[in-house]
Symmetry: C2
Subunit: 222 residues, 2 copies
DNA sequence: CTCTCATTCAAACGTCCGTTTGAACTATGC
DNA sequence: GCATAGTTCAAACGGACGTTTGAATGAGAG
């Protein structure tokens, strides 16, 4: 943590072979620290020290603490949104998707895709999960702005796939799905730390999908 | 360290006198503000101003900001824990409870009992829900210490009521139940503010119970 | 009345916060 | 060489934070 590359700007090779720019290091550390302590509980100084950057670098590259968070959310959500869109397009092209197909296409990009790439993926997942349910409404809306467009498509598709359930009931199940996914992503539900390893990721996804499918199919009011 | 030893618990009346004590006002406002902005996002100055108390009153009556939170959590959880214990005792005295009975006995004291008494109840519910999933692990454990004893009994009873599901699966469903309850209590799942009124409380409880019962009965792995 | 003691008060403590400044450094094009 | 733009730096800004202090207040007991 103390000093990394101090003298020369382009000197590297101590840690990662490819050079990370200050901007990238800030985003990476921000993901980690915001995911650990939340937005309010994480100071820019803690981030810049860990990223071996000057405190002024945040405002130079992003403009403010909140803008740093916004950039980190956008970068983290981009592949998840892309994958969700892709799978929904594919499902709809093949006809009327089932509820299970929709749930799977929504959950897996959030857990599987993001938990599968080792340490970094788990950090990103926790970051997303934390931001989605931050105590501050302002932060939550910042996340919602990033995720809403594709999420709205899933809600509409689910209501078509479950015509026997009232639209409000489907919306109720839908927010429950969002919440459970975020909670598992944030690892707030795993009380003992370090319990889950990489192999558990796909099992967690399967368990969560089965849990939600049963709830959607039989637990919603008509 | 100054003198702070005396708390004077005995001479207070059971019902609220025409005036609330400074200590009670601090707890009431702390519930509200911590529930709105989270622990880190709420300053003692904001609390003491709203409670019409001096900033030093918190440290006089409680010792620290965290001790104020701890006292507020303990006070808020007490009736919920009591009611959950009462209902579980009652169920177990009548024989082997079903999963639905257990889920209902767990959910309703958290939503129904606490949402039914008007504005105050909704504030308490939101406060509990927020603390249970605060970004800081320290705060979450503070809540867990208050809720764990009775919660553990429900987990054990659920595993007996669902012998066909693996114990890990029941534990998985159980943490999902905890999470969904907390999320609905914290009102983080209701995107539009002010959507829910008092009449919706019992409907919400029924919807959530039906959702969970279906998931427990048919969504858990053997 | 005086004494006592729990409570409240204004004020200040030192620390950390996000942000800003202006100079110094780097790399590239002339 | 000089000029330029992009980036990093130490240092400081004003303000908010949780906490502490010591004196003032008020009610009750002798």
């Amino acid at each position: 943590m103390p000093a990394r590359a101090v003298a020369g700007g382009k000197e590297n090779s101590v840690e990662t072979p490819p050079v990370e720019s200050t901007r990238e290091r800030l985003l990476n550390i921000a993901e980690q620290r915001f995911g650990e302590g939340g937005y309010e509980g994480t100071s820019l100084r803690a981030i810049t020290v860990a990223a071996a950057a000057n405190i002024a670098a945040v405002n130079y590259h992003f403009g403010s603490k909140e803008a740093l968070l916004r950039a980190a959310v956008a970068r983290a959500m981009a592949p998840v949104n892309t994958e969700r869109r892709r799978r929904l397009d594919q499902l709809e092209a093949a006809g009327q998707p089932t509820a299970e197909q929709l749930i799977r296409a929504f959950i897996e990009p959030g857990l599987d895709l993001v938990l599968r790439r080792g340490e970094r993926g788990a950090i990103v997942a926790r970051f997303i999960g934390r931001v989605a349910f931050d105590p501050s409404r302002r932060i939550r809306e910042l996340y919602a702005a990033e995720a809403d467009p594709v999420e709205a498509r899933y809600l509409a598709a689910l209501q078509q796939a479950l015509p026997r359930a009232a639209p409000e009931s489907v919306a109720f199940g839908y927010v429950n799905m969002l919440g459970l996914l975020a909670l598992h992503q944030s690892q707030a539900l795993s009380r003992a730390p370090g319990t889950e390893d990489v192999d558990d990721a796909s099992r967690l996804a399967e368990n969560l999908i089965a849990f939600l499918v049963a709830a959607f199919d039989r637990g919603l009011r008509a």
